[in-house]
């Protein structure tokens, strides 16, 4: 990267926020770094202002890829597609199989097991794309891999979006 690009980005907080919620999450992460390392004191109050307490005992915006439950998701967030963080949109069917992530809930500091299920049966939602890879493994550890087309087991293999369902508190720390 060139220095001037770094300066431009660091100066442009509003664009950085847009980047953080971008549909292309790996670029989002670069944006997260730019602010995490340099402008975190500027950014954090803004981020708090965006928070919505949609689920009891949680904080954050479930329409944002940064939301704590999405730490190992891969796909479109059902919150943005007519469903919710833990419900598929109308007209779709939740995949029977899922992958599991372990995410830390910042509200209570505990780790939780999260089941990521694809919602199958109709077109790609193409909103709120989010791919995160914390606690995610390659496919030889399939239960925690997020690169699998889980709607394959359904008659309609179309992936609309992906939910993140809390299964319970994890026994061990990550």
């Amino acid at each position: 990267m060139h220095l001037n690009r770094f300066d431009d980005l660091a100066a442009d907080v509003s664009r950085g926020l847009a980047r953080r919620t971008s549909r292309r999450s790996f670029t989002s992460k670069v944006g997260v770094w730019l602010f995490g390392a340099v402008a975190a004191p500027l950014l954090l109050p803004v981020a708090r202002g965006r928070a919505e307490d949609r689920y009891a005992g949680e904080e954050g915006d479930p329409r944002s890829c940064d939301y704590w439950r999405y730490c190992a998701t891969n796909g479109y967030l059902c919150e943005c597609c007519g469903g919710s963080a833990n419900e598929c949109p109308p007209g779709t069917t939740m995949s029977a199989l899922s992958w599991i992530g372990t995410c830390r809930n910042p509200a209570d500091g505990k780790n939780y097991l999260i089941s990521y299920n694809d919602c199958c049966g109709t077109a790609q939602c193409n909103r709120c794309s989010c791919s995160r890879h914390e606690s995610e493994t390659p496919v030889y550890r399939a239960g925690t891999a997020n690169d699998i087309h889980w709607c394959s087991a359904n008659e309609s293999t179309a992936i609309n979006c992906t939910v993140a369902v809390v299964l319970g508190a994890a026994e061990d720390e990550v």
């Binding site: 690009r5 944006g31 770094w33 995160r132 995610e136």
Partner: protein, 406 residues
């Protein structure tokens, strides 16, 4: 000026222009219809890449381009989740793909065979069921070293290989591979697969596709503590991988059973984070680095150099590092097991490929972090200089491969 006069003058001017344009020029000869441009002989710097087309995953494509001119040379529509192999004699491309039909995406799996000289379809093999459930790792299909068998990895989530005889273009059957995934070719007619406990399952096949022998190794990495990233590269029959933590592993697949080399570090194993000021003055590049991306490694056979996409942990905050895009490409002498160069990227890289010739180019699938547009950038692999880019490459490029194989 009345409109009618203005219009008359315009018409007069147009007629004069047409007349003048014909003075001293012969007419352009009528051209024949129904012509296709033949595929030029492949240049040293031609390569394929996969445009995953993330907004419409049913319609990915492989794109052939010339890195010398940054011009597209052709493309193959490849359905969803495809892989491509070139036959050793250079006559065919084998594309394993899923067709997702209609709005409900009813799925059918095929291997489509293309004539490599014309890019026309030469044959189609229908795969039973819809069992190729993985989306992106390249090594979900493998061509045996002799080019006789194509093996397709199935995940239902039971794991197995479908064995296809390419001479007869028929399916010979399935081989269950419980607990083991993906497949990497051995030097003979066989494959090794990575198992959930960190071991390898090696299977050797007869010429008719039957299983001759199977061997399960001891674990050679710890998938709980430092998982192996599945995107490896091969150099003269030896495969190289990196772990999440940046340990290079070599796996020699030339014999009956795999031989594992001692791991060596691609990155400084000192994990002490950089202090705040050092981060500021180095644009976050102080402190520990890790490998990450989609196609993280590439290898140049004539110089025995390994290239790896790397990024500072300060950027990634230590989260999901194994797929985090790279700020630089680090270059290693494989035999000396040490870094010899660092190539700074204009944008952040997600996939890299080095051409196999004596004047190699480094191809980088990248993302412009200002515009979030995907880029396909060409660098001199030796000097690290940026040379050119292919405009409008597509959405999420990875799986670069040469015209003659990997």
């Amino acid at each position: 000026m009345p409109h009618s006069i203005s219009f008359a003058l315009s018409v007069l001017g147009l007629m004069l222009g047409v007349l003048l344009s014909h003075v001293g020029h012969a007419d352009i000869a009528a051209e024949p219809l129904n012509r296709n441009r033949p595929l030029d002989p492949a240049g040293a710097h031609w390569a394929w890449y996969l445009d995953f087309n993330v907004d419409d995953i049913a319609n990915s494509r492989f794109v052939l381009f010339d890195a010398d001119t940054a011009r597209m040379k052709g493309s193959l529509g490849s359905g969803a989740f495809p892989t491509m192999h070139a036959s050793p004699d250079g006559r065919f491309y084998y594309v394993a793909e899923s067709w997702l039909r209609g709005p409900r995406r009813i799925r059918e799996d095929f291997v489509t065979i293309y004539d490599a000289s014309s890019l026309q379809i030469d044959g189609i093999i229908e795969l039973p069921g819809a069992r190729r459930a993985l989306m992106s790792p390249r090594d979900r299909t493998v061509l045996t070293a002799d080019g006789s068998l194509l093996l397709v990895f199935n995940f239902t989530p039971s794991t197995s290989l479908t064995v296809i005889d390419l001479a007869s273009r028929t399916i010979k059957g399935d081989v269950p591979t419980p607990g083991c995934s993906l497949a990497y070719p051995t030097s003979s007619r066989g494959v090794s697969m990575i198992c959930g406990d960190g071991s390898l399952l090696t299977i050797h096949f007869g010429s008719d596709g039957t299983v001759l022998a199977q061997h399960r190794s001891k674990p050679f990495f710890n998938p709980d503590k430092d998982p192996l990233i599945e995107n490896g590269v091969s150099l003269e029959g030896v495969w190289y991988f990196t772990t999440y933590g940046g340990q290079a592993h070599s796996v020699d697949l030339r014999g009956e059973e795999p031989v594992f080399g001692s791991p060596w570090p691609l990155v400084d194993q000192n994990k002490k984070p950089a202090n705040f000021l050092a981060s500021i003055f180095t644009m976050g590049k102080a402190g520990p680095w890790l490998p990450g991306g989609f196609q993280i490694l590439t290898v140049h056979e004539p110089t025995r150099r390994l290239y790896a996409l790397t990024h500072p942990i300060t950027w990634s905050e230590g989260k999901g590092d194994h797929v985090f895009p790279g700020a630089e490409v680090w270059v290693y002498d494989i035999d000396e097991q040490k870094r010899i160069d660092r190539i700074k990227l204009r944008d952040v890289g997600i996939s890299i490929h080095v051409t196999p010739d004596e004047s190699p180019l480094l191809l980088v699938g990248a993302v412009d972090i200002e515009t979030e547009e995907f880029r396909l950038e060409v660098y001199d692999a030796e000097s690290g200089d940026f040379l050119r880019e292919l405009e409008e490459p597509g959405e999420v490029m990875f799986h670069f491969q040469g015209v003659s194989g990997r």
